[in-house]
């Protein structure tokens, strides 16, 4: 599994865009990049997954540069309910997924 590095915490205000960058310098050719969101006392929830370039869904976008050594999760127009821990995972078919400490995003009114 590729090692990932994310900021420990980020603060934002309602209505702003939040961008969380994850570094994964030793990503392998067949690795995918996946992001999860976790609220207190709940299990993580899948947000988005990508391999290269850009992926967008109804709640987020994932930007992956050509060298794939990093990725950025973008949360447009955040609300208070987006306050959570966000995890970046990188891997392929070896499924020993362990989450790092993640990024705690705090959205203020």
């Amino acid at each position: 599994l590729a090692k990932t590095t994310q900021p420990i915490s980020m603060d934002s205000y309602e209505g702003q865009e939040v961008n969380i960058t994850c570094s994964h310098n030793n990503i392998a050719t067949n690795d995918y990049i996946t992001w999860y969101q976790q609220f207190p006392s709940q299990g993580p929830r899948f947000i988005i997954q990508g391999y290269k370039t850009k992926v967008t869904n109804e709640v987020s976008s994932l930007f992956i540069p050509a060298d794939r050594k990093s990725s950025t999760l973008s949360l447009p127009r955040v609300s208070l309910s987006d306050t959570a821990v966000y995890y970046c995972l990188v891997g392929a078919d070896d499924y020993k997924l362990s989450f790092g400490a993640g990024t705690t995003v705090t959205v203020r009114a």
């Binding site: 690795d31 995918y32 996946t34 999860y36 006392s41 709940q42 299990g43 993580p44 929830r45 899948f46 997954q49 821990v85 995890y87 995972l89 891997g91 392929a92 078919d93 070896d94 499924y95 020993k96 997924l97 362990s98 989450f99 790092g100 400490a101 993640g102």
Partner: protein
């Protein structure tokens, strides 16, 4: 469509005791993974079950064992409990074993070891 369900939600045990946690996967899922999440940390992979066999295992001692039943439900057993085993235990199900499959998590079992 029921998601992943775990029982019990909370449990208090004393050192040396044994505990069994249960998980029912999301409908249609055949793969179950277990995670341990200590306070302030991310979930750590314990093991994964597919076709009633342990397929992959994380860095956990043999005190942690599991089982998967023909209906794909699963149990996590922890023997000789230590204070350090206090954590949130999460079960996740998926359609297959690959990283590319979305994991669907339950809300977990909060285990306190006194």
């Amino acid at each position: 469509d029921a998601g992943v369900t775990q029982s019990p939600t909370h449990l208090i045990k004393t050192r040396g005791q044994q505990v069994t946690l249960r998980c029912s996967p999301k409908s249609g899922h055949d793969t179950v993974s277990w995670y341990q999440q200590a306070l302030g940390q991310g979930p750590q992979f314990i093991f994964q079950y597919y076709e009633e066999e342990e397929r992959q295992r994380g860095n956990f001692p043999d005190r942690f064992s599991g089982h998967q039943f023909p209906n794909y439900s699963s149990e996590l057993n922890v023997n000789a409990l230590l204070l350090g085993d206090s954590a949130l235990y999460l079960c996740a199900s998926s359609l297959s074993q690959g990283m590319r499959e979305k994991l669907f998590f339950g809300s977990g079992t909060q285990l306190s070891v006194l």
